[in-house]
């Protein structure tokens, strides 16, 4: 799908991946996340936080239960040397505005609320590289500005982010790579 793609993402930077449908934005992010083994070439990245097109939130569980699982499993997976999660589950839910529905099974929440729960995972993750696939999908204006702020804060704190998006991502638009021609 790609040829001669060479990408260097230093800490503190955010890069936006653009391109028409089918140009491979999602594939690139999944590659970076380590979800495809059959690429030819090298990826030198730390373990990354990945938010896919599906939010990765179980509909049977409430936002709190989803996030608790993510935090516990993530912490035990972190291994030696990784900084512990910065926030508690409650703080993360408050940050995305889900306190009011933290105990309701996610299947009964709206699309936007589910996306917010998925986003809250990013705040729990100790990992420095964020890979966000269409993070603005289904979010309202307030939610979209929230995403922009999260990314800015993350990068300011020494993290890095790579986002695939059709919509403008606020201040982070400066660094963009353009993937040409769909398949």
């Amino acid at each position: 799908m790609f040829r001669n793609l060479n990408l260097d993402l230093p800490a503190g930077r955010c890069v936006v991946v653009r391109g028409p449908n089918g140009s491979g934005k999602s594939t690139l992010l999944r590659l970076a996340a380590g979800l495809y083994p059959d690429y030819e070439g090298g990826i030198e990245a730390a373990d990354a936080f990945y938010l896919g097109q599906k939010p990765g939130i179980s509909g049977l569980l409430s936002p709190r239960e989803n996030l608790q699982w993510y935090r516990r499993a993530g912490l035990s997976a972190g291994g030696a040397g990784s900084p512990r999660a910065k926030r508690s589950v409650d703080e993360a839910m408050a940050a995305v505005g889900l306190e009011a529905c933290s105990e309701i099974p996610c299947a009964r929440l709206s699309q936007g609320q589910q996306r917010r729960a998925g986003l809250a995972r990013a705040l729990l993750s100790p990992l420095r590289l964020w890979l966000l696939d269409e993070p603005l999908t289904a979010l309202d204006a307030q939610g979209r500005s929230l995403v922009g702020r999260f990314i800015e804060d993350h990068c300011a704190g020494g993290g890095a982010a790579m986002c695939a998006s059709h919509q403008p991502l606020g201040a982070m638009d400066s660094a963009a790579i353009e993937l040409g021609g769909g398949r």
């Binding site: 996340a33 380590g34 979800l35 495809y36 083994p37 059959d38 373990d47 990945y50 896919g52 097109q53 599906k54 939010p55 990765g56 939130i57 179980s58 509909g59 049977l60 569980l61 239960e65 699982w69 993510y70 516990r72 499993a73 993530g74 035990s76 997976a77 291994g79 099974p105 998925g118 995972r121």
Partner: protein
């Protein structure tokens, strides 16, 4: 890792009770159908009871396997599972353990009822339960490999059966022969050791296969 995953799966299962109850209801419906098919011939029924029970257990297990990974696959949690699970086989084991609790273990607990309906001799019931307890983990573990391979396949149910049922054959053979021997009054331990051995082998190897298969299936999306 095991504890976190086990807790999560347990919560999910508790929220979707129909998914636990359907295979169990299927098992007893099957028992009922066989009892009717034998038309009240209790002697013939009790002679074939071990085989009937085991075949129904195999099928009931298969039914609950289809949804083992499907829900997680559809809402994207399976991707996170793969990225988080370190080591992956431990997380897989937690998932399969919960599935076994609500099928294999539940079936074992309810086996006396099925044995009663199929007019098995009461003395054979404890051994039937022991065989089920030893054999069903192997079913869940092997079946999870098939479930992980077919999770990305639309309407993967029949395919799953096709992949998994041939692998179930040793459990069926040893389970039926041990149960039948004890029902006939012979104290046969060999097949029970075989069942336990087969389960141990499945326990050692299949979590790795499941972890690999889940990763492979995720490439599809």
């Amino acid at each position: 890792m095991f504890a976190a995953q086990f807790r999560r799966e347990w919560l999910c299962v508790a929220r979707a009770r129909d998914e636990i109850l359907n295979p169990l209801a299927f098992l007893f419906l099957g028992v009922l159908l066989f009892a009717m098919a034998f038309g009240g011939d209790d002697e013939a029924l009790s002679a074939y009871a071990p085989g009937i029970v085991w075949v129904l257990v195999l099928l009931a297990n298969l039914m609950s396997l289809e949804i083992l990974f499907r829900r997680d696959f559809e809402d994207g949690t399976l991707e996170q599972f793969v990225l988080l699970a370190r080591p992956p086989f431990v997380a897989v084991l937690a998932k399969v353990a919960v599935q076994w609790c609500v099928t294999g273990f539940a079936i074992t607990a309810l086996a006396p009822l099925a044995a009663l309906m199929l007019s098995m001799p009461p003395e054979a019931v404890p051994m039937l339960m022991l065989c089920l307890l030893l054999g069903t983990p192997a079913l869940s573990l092997l079946g999870a490999v098939g479930a992980a391979l077919t999770v990305g396949v639309r309407k993967g149910g029949v395919l799953l059966a096709l992949l998994v049922l041939p692998l179930y054959l040793p459990v069926l053979i040893f389970g039926v022969s041990a149960t039948a021997a004890w029902a006939g009054g012979a104290a046969e331990w060999a097949q029970i050791y075989w069942l336990a051995g087969f389960t141990m082998l499945a326990l050692t190897l299949s979590p790795f296969a499941v972890a690999a298969a889940v990763k492979i299936s995720l490439e599809e999306c």
